[in-house]
Amino acid sequence: MAEIRFTKEHEWIRIEGDTGTVGISDYAQGQLGDVVFVEVPEVGKKVSKGAQAAVVESVKAASEVYAPVSGEVTAANAALAGNPGLVNASAMGDGWFFKLKLSNKAELGELMDEAAYKAYVAGLG
């Protein structure tokens, strides 16, 4: 079964084998409001953990999306270009941003699991 991890910056990553799918959390999409544009990385781009990998924009805000772990981008969600609202409608599903081939699985240990993330968000008030 796929495991899912979260960052303090509200990205999630779902791990299947050595590939991870990355998006922003339901909490994050709620904070942003209606998403109007997503800039996804090019396939083949190498990103290191914590580096800017994508940009998500609502009408009134623009936020960077950081790579939860290091790796090489293997896919980007082309559907977001025509329908950025997918991020609001399905943040954890169809609204994914990009897929990474992980270069250092050990980095996953530094991320939160779902329960820890829920507690973290609850603490944000």
Partner: protein, 447 residues
């Protein structure tokens, strides 16, 4: 003081309501060392009549272009502006409104900007235009910054036919924003080869049409060469009226169009305020600087307009914005929009034809003066002459004969003695045949 409504009693009562003993109380956070005891050393207030006399006195020390036979161009052109333009832009609802951040109460400005954006896209042959820039030269600098963002490169290649002031503004931005600028030498004869100078670092090639010397080029091949090398082509047009008669930049393959819109709706104003035109291809819209108005619907489903894609802008992106620009040139854009609405398809193309025809007539008259040669093989409403004497001296002497003869190339290239005898001359619809004859006759006399 006619602009200040409070009486002494108002002020006393308001201070009492605030609970302050005096207005000085309200300034108590100002450090003592910085408090001015009395008035600064400047004159006291004056009534309208006195101020009007003062300013009119300064105006009287100038010789307006309209009081002489004026053939000045070089990036600013004297055109006739219909009287309704100035009437409409002085309506307080336009003049004294702010940037339309509250769309429910600024639909007028927003709809106008949407029309302006459409007009600019149409005349340039581009997909999409913004709601204006400060002027042509700052627009050109912003175009280079945009090309740098799109291509992730940092070297601009400038044509020698580009207005030197545009080159200087781009160089200023390059020097301080960290991109490099390679400027070709002044290209009087129109023979420069820019395509061979494009390399893997070049983000854009910036050309002007017609060139500063007035020559008309087809940049289609250069556009293809730039794009094949991963660079963008920026086409600058300093005389917007030319777009009524010439193949537009969009049809030449330009990626970015930058224009000076002063010619349409705006007076000479000694150089400003003017209005920068800026347009690009759909695919680059999110990299475009400046404000954009977009169509949408309101809560009742009725069509309306809002400022949009504002996440590119400084008030949201802060240090990551596409540009630091906040205020642009709204009222000048309004003047442009009204004038072009009045002109329409027929008026705009005819105005351009008249400008060209007058320039052809003038070129023939001046080219017939002994010792004078026409440098251009093509032109729209402006061309370059080579004189047997330094052009700046000739221009000064022609002032005495009531002629503003044009822009001496030495004014724009002070360090280039080889251009000292070149004179850049423009004709517009405002020039009569009698003025042209006066120019030709007077030129013959001073040479």
């Amino acid at each position: 003081m006619r602009y200040l409504p409070h009486t002494a009693q108002d002020r006393r009562e308001m201070l009492a309501a605030i609970g302050a003993a005096s207005v000085d109380d309200l300034y108590r956070d100002v450090p003592h060392s910085a408090r001015l005891g009395g008035l600064v050393d400047l004159p006291r207030h004056q009534g309208e009549l006195a101020v009007e006399r003062d300013i009119a006195g300064l105006a009287a020390k100038n010789r307006p272009a309209g009081s002489m036979a004026s053939f000045l161009g070089g990036g600013a052109y004297r055109h006739h502006v219909p009287s309704s333009v100035d009437h409409l832009i002085q309506r307080g609802e336009f003049l004294t409104s702010y940037t339309p951040y509250q769309p429910e109460v600024t639909q007028g400005t927003l709809q106008m900007l949407f029309e302006f954006q459409t007009q600019v896209a149409l005349i340039s042959g581009m997909d999409v235009a913004n709601a204006s820039m400060y002027d042509g030269a700052t627009g050109a600098a912003e175009a280079v910054l945009m090309a740098n963002r799109v291509t992730k490169r940092a070297k601009a290649l400038l044509s020698g036919g580009l207005h030197p002031h545009y080159r200087e503004v781009i160089e200023t931005y390059g020097r301080w924003s960290g991109f490099s600028v390679k400027a070709a030498a002044a290209d009087v004869s129109g023979v420069e080869d820019l395509a061979s100078r494009i390399d893997a670092e070049t983000s854009c090639v910036v050309v002007q049409n017609p060139s500063i010397f007035g020559r008309i080029h087809d940049y289609a091949a250069l556009a293809a060469a730039a794009q094949n090398a991963g660079a963008l082509l920026v086409v600058v047009v300093t005389e917007a009226v030319s777009l009524g008669l010439l193949k537009p930049p969009g049809e030449m393959g330009a990626d970015i169009f930058v224009g000076e819109g002063q010619s349409i709706g705006n007076a000479l104003n000694f150089g400003g305020p003017y209005v920068g035109l800026f347009a690009t291809r759909d695919k680059y819209v999110r990299q475009m600087p400046g404000r954009l108005t977009g169509e949408t619907v309101d809560a009742d489903g009725r069509r309306g307009w809002v400022l949009t894609l504002s996440t590119r802008e400084q008030h949201i992106r802060r240090e990551k914005a596409t540009s630091n620009i906040c205020t642009n040139s709204g009222l000048c854009a309004l003047a442009f929009c009204i004038h072009l609405s009045l002109l329409g398809e027929d008026g705009f193309t005819r105005l351009a034809q008249i400008n060209h025809a007058h320039a052809v007539q003038l070129a023939e008259k001046l080219g017939g003066v002994k010792g004078v040669s026409l440098v251009n093989d093509s032109f729209f409403n402006e061309f370059t002459l080579k004189l047997p004497k330094p052009a700046s001296e000739v221009v000064e002497r022609l002032v005495d004969k009531g002629v503003l003869a044009g822009v001496p190339a030495s004014r724009l290239w002070p360090d280039q003695p080889d251009l000292a005898n070149h004179l850049i001359v423009a004709a517009t619809e405002t020039n009569t045949e009698a003025e042209m004859d006066l120019f030709a006759r007077s030129l013959a006399e001073v040479l």
